[in-house]
């Protein structure tokens, strides 16, 4: 059973300052907002895929192998196979975009002022796409034929 949180919204006692958008909804239908629809659908699909990808990652990297074994050579061998490169690239893409989509919905839920919304969404997309690009660059351009690092 869902439990309601005890907080009372601060705005509950205030007079409404403006008329809501729903009075302006006239007889003329507006174009269907496809972005929200597809972001909702993508949420579901990426969530199911992430279950498979993230759990496989967990099992391979933390249960079969553990962090003491994982070093440069381990990664080199792993990324010698295009299968694991594709796997990691997909995991990176799905995890980042799924997470970004989640933060975007949080911003839309809790940030009502237009200016702050634009600011928050801009920061989110800039940071998210930056991480996506540098992550993808490492996975795609990594050269497994380099010699291993000299032992310390």
């Amino acid at each position: 059973m869902a439990i309601q949180t005890p907080e009372r919204p601060k705005t509950a006692l205030k007079e409404p300052t403006k008329r809501s958008r729903w009075t302006r909804t006239g007889a003329r239908p507006r174009p269907t907002n496809a972005f929200e629809l597809y972001s909702w659908y993508f949420f579901r699909v990426s969530g199911i895929l992430l279950l498979v990808f993230a759990l496989t990652h967990l099992v391979v990297m933390h249960l079969i192998n553990n962090v003491e074994v994982i070093n440069y050579d381990f990664v080199r061998q792993r990324w010698a196979s295009p299968l694991w490169r594709t796997f990691d690239l997909l995991l990176l893409f799905l995890a980042l975009t799924h997470g970004m989509n989640g933060v975007r919905t949080l911003i839309y839920d809790y940030v009502q002022s237009k200016g702050w919304r634009v600011f928050n969404i801009s920061v989110l997309y800039i940071v998210g796409i930056f991480f996506l690009l540098i992550g993808a660059q490492v996975i795609i351009t990594f050269n497994p034929n380099l010699p291993s690092l000299p032992a310390k």
Partner: protein, 231 residues
Amino acid sequence: MQVTLKILRFDPEKDKKAHFKSYEIEADPLDRILDALNTVKWYKDGTLTFRRSCAHGVCGSDAMRINGRNRLACKELVGDIGKKITIEPMLGFRILKDLVVDMEPFFEKYRSIKPYLINYEDPPATERFQSAEDREIFDETTKCILCGACSGSCPPFWSNSEFIGPAAIVNAHRFIFDSRDQGSDERIAVLSQSEGVFRCRTVYNCTDACPREIPVTKAIEQIKRVMLYNR
């Protein structure tokens, strides 16, 4: 049984902030919360204000937050709730006085989804016929009494006053899935706006809150699917 009612009070002419006030009353376990409120109003404090009309769970005017959950005061028994009962107006609505909230934004959103039959064909000589199977599809959502318990229990509705809310979506569902109705596209255009059906986070509070046991979250998900499949 001796019951303590802790009620959120707010008088717009005197108070700056809502505050709790406790009342000790004698109540039968089979009394409803509404009876307990009436006991307070009639014998303890006549200034207590709340809405009630039919008192039998049909008119939907006495939805309120009882021990943290939105319920109709006329459908909950004191014995089921316990000796300590906290009663607040519903969240996400502006308080007018005590337990009375401003329902106008709620009805404005309700009206926006065109809650009436739209059919552009000439009316037939008799009724517009519908099979029992077609009627069954939207049977649950015909039960809505517009009490607002679902919208008032919805976290996205609390934080975002623009969100259309589950009640309006339920009433859109009632017509979108009606085989006699031709206004689905118009309603879906309204619901697909940025503050429409996709602000739903599938919290399920609405399904828990509905006094008519409408599977609200399920109805909302069905509308999302129709939007996806009809593209």
